[in-house]
Symmetry: C2
Subunit: 304 residues, 2 copies
């Protein structure tokens, strides 16, 4: 559903967009980039809705974890750009069922992550809503464009890496902000966060760059308890980073990630020219089993 709507919106924006001297990057990347004074302002919005992105009935999830994840998802977009986190603004939808208690719990979860992620919650809105929801806008900062990565920078011959482990679906994921900045400094060429599963997000990176990311499934760093590649390649909400880097940057990537003391990188494949559309190795991603056969897996698709 949403992809066609996003395409329709993007088309409307193309038609009506005012040329903006401030706008460095708009729709199509993890976050928008706007020039302000001497700095770059990097902004992303993530909404989470009860019944769609989380469930409170039968105690499947606690509002405090939902709040944490809502902020984590938005901050993860900043991490994927290599930006420093700055401020967050949270619009809370307060439901009749959960009431103020659930809404305040959700907010507490966001505040707990904010304290760990060097993020200031600087404002928001509170509205009534049929279900509990949170719309999180995060603003990050960078000094110059050269500090930031995009999805379209992957080049043939480069390596494909991911941070951390995949498929674990942690209830309180830590957005990879330090790692994102380290990867940008180390010379990574393109980056995306794995919020919708590696399969879908790596494909987006490959498509944006006009290449094919050849990923060897057996190399995926599966989280503890994850026993098959499919779960590792398709589980959403890992909030790890998938990136590409020239072979010459490999040592710097590994060293800088060690220095920031965060998640380590695993090299999972290489960038090749895109094959003919519809065939194996077409533009996007090609997930290969140990026999070299392409495995058709797709991730979630619900982000803009």
């Amino acid at each position: 559903m949403e992809r066609s709507l996003i395409e329709a919106i993007a088309a409307e924006l193309e038609l009506t967009l005012r040329p903006s001297r401030r706008l460095v990057r708009g729709i199509g990347d993890d976050a928008a980039v706007v020039r302000s004074g001497g700095a770059l302002c990097v902004t992303s919005v993530d909404a989470m809705v009860e019944g769609v992105h989380f469930r409170l009935d039968e105690d499947v999830e606690r509002p405090i974890d939902v709040g944490w994840r809502a902020l984590a998802g938005a901050l993860s977009d900043l991490a994927a750009m290599g930006a420093r986190a700055g401020e967050a603004y949270i619009a809370l939808g307060v439901s009749p069922q959960g009431g103020e208690t659930a809404a305040l719990e959700l907010m507490r979860g966001a505040l707990e992550l904010a304290a760990q992620a060097e993020t200031t919650i600087a404002g928001g809105d509170v509205v009534a809503s049929p279900v509990l929801s949170a719309c999180v806008t995060v603003v990050g900062w960078a000094e110059s464009e050269s500090e930031l990565l995009a999805r379209d920078g992957a080049r043939v011959g480069e390596l494909v890496g991911v941070t951390g482990t995949l498929g674990g679906r942690p209830s309180r994921p830590l957005p990879r902000l330090r790692e994102g900045q380290a990867l940008a400094r180390a010379g990574a060429s393109a980056m995306i966060d794995i919020s919708d599963g590696l399969a879908g997000d790596a494909r987006q990176l490959g498509e944006s760059s006009g290449v094919c990311l050849q990923v060897e499934l057996e190399r995926l760093p599966l989280a503890e308890g994850v026993i098959d590649w499919e779960q590792g390649a398709t589980a959403g909400e890992d909030y790890e980073l998938c990136f590409t880097a020239p072979p010459g940057a490999r040592a710097d990537v590994e060293r800088l990630l060690r220095e920031v003391g965060g998640a380590q990188a695993t090299w999972i494949g290489t960038v090749t020219p895109a094959g003919p559309p519809g065939g194996p190795g077409a533009q996007g991603v090609s997930l290969r089993d140990p026999q070299g056969a392409e495995v058709p897996l797709r991730g979630f698709e619900h982000s803009w």
Copy 2:
């Protein structure tokens, strides 16, 4: 409901807030202000939810007008600070009933206003939701703090003014961005936008400033077709500005508003010291009928 929740959230924020060198103003004003490079970044979030802020059943409202008003409400917060509009980010909640059609219509309404209000829609999110909703984050810009107004600057002896007309509930209100900047330049001392009705919003301005705004109801500039003061003083979503200014700035206010070619100002009262709590002329606002009697009117209360 929401006020107690907002207070609880503000208390949590107080407890956990990281000191931020960037944050110039946080929760408590129309928008947050963050320093970035040489500029100030002014941010506000407004959410609108079907069944709460608008109704689509029985064709009460069209999605295109809802989108316009959603953006107008957020931009109005920037206007009340005296900021220039910059970018908007819109998270759309797509309902089963309205589907993509209603969501795209809503987006079109926002785009139409964006084109008139010198605002670039730079990003957002699209999610499924039980009802149609829009969460709008707007970012405005200023060069220095002296360009911006807050709610807490009203002083005893000053005049109280409003822009435009009240009570009309226009379906496509124009946020008073030019007027807000002109009022700040002209020497206005405090400002708030009238999104929840003059009675409630002027009270907030008076409370933030620790004074009483004495408003003479017969001076209210009622919109065409509005026949009583009560409607003029309590109707929300006017998106006009209520401000205070020293008597010496009166001529400049009138001249600069004429020069920007927008809404004119009407002087509706004066700022007095706050009387004892609970009595007439207590801190906040005192709405007076032509006989000088205080009229108890309250506006909506659903913004943060």
